[in-house]
Symmetry: C2
Subunit: 106 residues, 2 copies
Amino acid sequence: MESKQVVEALSALAQSTRLASYRLLVACGPEGMAAGQIAEKLNVSAATMSFHFKILSHTGLIESRQEGRFVYYSANFQVMNGMVAYLTENCCGGNPAACNVPSNFC
Amino acid sequence: MESKQVVEALSALAQSTRLASYRLLVACGPEGMAAGQIAEKLNVSAATMSFHFKILSHTGLIESRQEGRFVYYSANFQVMNGMVAYLTENCCGGNPAACNVPSNFC
DNA sequence: TTATTATTTCCATAGTTGTTTAACTATGGA
DNA sequence: TCCATAGTTAAACAACTATGGAAATAATAA
């Protein structure tokens, strides 16, 4: 994973509404949740929620699928795995014995 | 760890100079590195670097100690651990068998 | 087709962030 | 004490970000 991509992913999560919606989707699992339902749960207008989904989608942290009139969003764990791996690289000055570095998020 | 604190930590890391300096300090280990040395390594002015250190310090992601004329910065892994734990909470819809959730960063 | 519902896009506004420059504080050597 | 070096702070400015109302698009039901 490249630095630029990691900055984008961190930046996407560094906003309270996006962080809350991402965590909601992590807990929802692969089936995800409809856009409007998430907006309502988080007390945010549809326009604002859509703006935030666009940013999260762009990084790959979430994905969407159309189902009837609804758009379901769900978390994709691969980007989070990559992000954590990037942050923990060379942890503790290359002394792996002192470390318990996670290799996988989910 | 609270949502607000996590947003602050993510926000602190969501900037290329800060992300690079944090990773440098992660690799340096507890002894850390002098402010000026980091600024030079990353090709950033002392003033800009100081501004970024202030933001990272405020979140607790890094710490400083004075040593003669030098200020040494070092990574504090606890905040990162808390951040990762917060992000992975309730991972995969409460189905821990499908998960490999990291409990510790370092 | 027309109406209805779900979501997105466009726009203006308000607020935040990163950088530079110049001035400041602190430490230690001559 | 004076000087050089290391680092911080403050002000200014340009660039970016978040918000919600209105209009546009998309999917479906009547």
